[in-house]
């Protein structure tokens, strides 16, 4: 029986009104609770069920081996390859964390002299302090924080890491630096230099002066058009050629220049996107207040433009952080390279050593990159001051 059956035409215009009760219907199936959720999201139709089963199958194929490798079958203690050999242990062997444990100092400091490593630790502590100060919105005195992070910290860190006879600190040449230290130095310096350079290039590209615009366009398009590897090769091989005879820049400085310039070009395009999103009224308003070009940019335009593109800036930082691994190709011992270099050690030559090293590196990079992206998403939500319509 359908609903139409107890409807009868009431008047000449053809409107229908009900007469009598509707038949009772069954109560609706569960619409809330765990069972309903599962029905709705996992088994709502036959294709959906097939997809769910497929998903469970993938999970079943991936999760146990990964967990076994990383945790349950992993070897945590040991002093040599015997600890991580299946034939010696008579048990399945997962990750050889004992190897990572023994090599941890090398992974973090490279060949930095052991007695001097407190200097690196100090720099890390100072850096963490600065990062927390600047990035945690609740901490006050942001101005002092920027002064500390962008002026005091780099100078102190430079002298601490390189060493200076004035304070009786032994000189440590950069070819002894390595591991996480180099990765962090490269990415921090790259980030700190690429942002202002990128802003300048972006302003140059939108400048009214034809020569400035031309220069910026050529630089940006050129750098964005070639792979980072070739830029690094260029910095490594060609920079010494272009400098006078006595000037032999340190190899770490060379790749730093390459990375900073490379990231600056990408940053410039992102900042340009932000600048384009600012309405004309803002420029005209600033000009009508009598502000000059730089005052207008620094006080009115850039704060708004940069705020819009924070997620993209952070994405570039993440890209830069990942790209620092490429310096290993031109012979710098960054974190990944120290891990690669450890594989040749015969004392730890086992079938699982490589996989362990790569897993460790992956976890390290993932924590940093994922942390950055989560921070930027959180910041984005915080800064969303009613611009969304």
């Amino acid at each position: 029986m359908t609903i139409g059956d107890n409807l009868t035409p009431m008047n000449s215009s053809g409107a229908y009104l009900g007469s009598g009760d509707l038949p009772e219907r069954k109560p609706p199936v569960l619409s809330r609770g765990a069972v309903a959720w599962v029905r709705e999201n996992l088994f709502s139709s036959i294709p959906n069920t097939i997809m769910t089963l497929l998903g469970f199958w993938i999970l079943w194929e991936i999760t146990p081996p990964v967990l076994n490798f990383l945790i349950f079958d992993a070897v945590w203690e040991g002093s040599g390859r015997d600890a991580c050999l299946e034939s010696v242990r008579n048990a399945p062997v997962g990750a050889c964390w004992a190897f990572v444990k023994v090599r941890l100092g090398y992974f973090f400091y490279g060949q930095y002299p052991i007695d001097e490593r407190w200097r690196v630790d100090t720099v890390w502590l100072m850096g963490t302090l600065g990062v927390v100060w600047l990035l945690w919105p609740r901490v006050p005195y942001k101005n002092w924080g920027s002064l500390y992070f962008f002026l005091i910290f780099p100078i102190v860190a430079f002298f601490l890491l390189v060493g200076t006879p004035t304070f009786n600190l032994q000189k440590v040449p950069t070819n002894l630096w390595g591991g996480v230290l180099v990765t962090l130095v490269l990415s921090t310096v790259g980030i700190v230099f690429s942002l202002p350079l990128g802003v300048l290039l972006a302003l140059g590209r939108r400048s009214k002066l034809p020569l400035v615009r031309l220069f910026s366009v050529i630089f940006i398009e050129f750098v964005r058009g070639v792979p980072l590897i070739t830029v690094l090769f260029m910095a490594n091989v060609m920079l010494p050629l272009f400098l006078p005879d006595g000037w032999r820049p340190d190899s770490l400085i060379r790749v730093l220049v390459g990375i900073a310039l490379f990231a600056a070009a990408y940053m410039a395009e992102i900042v340009r996107g932000g600048l384009q999103a600012i309405g004309r009224g803002q420029y005209e308003g600033a000009q009508s207040l009598g502000l000059g070009y730089w005052q207008m940019m620094v006080l009115i335009i850039l704060p708004q433009a940069l705020k819009i593109v924070i997620p993209n800036i952070v994405n570039t930082f993440i890209g830069l952080f990942k790209d620092t691994t490429l310096v290993s190709i031109v012979g710098i011992f960054d974190f990944l390279k120290t891990i690669e270099a450890s594989f040749v050690d015969p004392r730890w030559a086992t079938p699982v050593t490589r996989a362990t090293g790569y897993a460790f590196a992956a976890i390290f990079y993932f924590i940093f990159c994922w942390g950055m992206s989560q921070y930027s998403q959180w910041m984005e939500r915080k800064l969303a001051t009613g611009h969304k319509r």
């Binding site: 009214k208 034809p210 058009g225 091989v237 006078p244 290993s328 996989a355 992956a362 990079y365 994922w370």
Partner: protein, 396 residues
Amino acid sequence: MTTEADRGAPRVSPLYDPKVRGIAYQVVLALVIVFVVYEAATNAIENLRAAKIASGFGFWTVEAGFDINQKLIPFSSTGGSTYGDAFLVGLLNTLIVAAFGIVLATILGFVIGIARLSKNWIIAKLSMVYVEVIRNTPLLLQLLFWYNAVLKPLPDPRNSVSLFGAIFLNNRGVVMPTPIAGPNFDWTWIATLVAIVVWIVLSYVARKQQAATGKRFPANLIGFALFIFLPLIAFWAAGGPLTFEYPKQSRFNLTGGMQIYPEFVALLLGLTIYTAAFIAENVRAGILAVSKGQSEAAHALGLSNGQTLRLIVVPQAMRVIIPPLTSQYLNLTKNSSLAVAIGYPDLVQVFTGTVLNQTGQAVEVIAITMLVYLTISLTTSFFMNIYNSRMALVER
């Protein structure tokens, strides 16, 4: 009536005249650039002379004394191949890995991107985990993983892993049966070509007809069927002129068959999986950019689910997806230069690596390499801009 403007701007000191200042800034910039370039050039000439390194492109025709394992054109260390040939081999290797990578990454990326929007909770979460893990680890690490931790520990050729008795996996790569075209095989190609031409003509006619009468004609369906079946019919009519040379297990090695080198496999895997994660995010953003009102309006007009997807959602989503997609393709091409880390003979490995080391002519070699990538990038963005201006919404 004369106004302020007619009389010209009020006189200001040239120091504060924006025009004068602008010219001054540009003159300073030009002087700095000229000075830097001049200094760099003179220093380079001096340094090169001191190091007794030749300059110019004479090395192009000099015989290269090394061999390359994967080559699409003849190249050997003894057959008089030049550095110019090495450049070509490297360039072709870069292009082929980029081409395969682009196709595979697009397919995988679209699948993952759509899966991330799936109503199925577990599929959506799995895709999310894939995207997050892959995007947040360096490509170089992934390449090293595929090459050193996955492909290298495979058994040696004598104990190859065999799939269906035809494809063999070992630590020297993948060996597959070589297809050998028989006498009348060309007819299959001709049939394919005919099918493509008919497809294009059909869709043109269908578009005209729809514009004129409003009637739709399933041109793509018929075209696709032709594309599949016409070559098959031609193949069958010619008597199936295709045989395979299967790799054979001999005492120490595999003989015959087509060998794909592990470097190529690792690079292709790494690039595909890495780029697919980024493409997936672009696809997701593109689909989300089509507002719900569009599909609701389509349903209200009586279009079915499939029609809504095909005629309303996909065309609008593609407009959002394609620009970032091209830049992902460019990224993939540029990232293929990481081949140097695992020894795949691409342009950078062969030319900027081996040739540079042998000749020492850093300036020329790096300039040529950069020029190649620059050409690829700029050509792509040129066509992209044309496409963008054609696809851009025409607004009032």
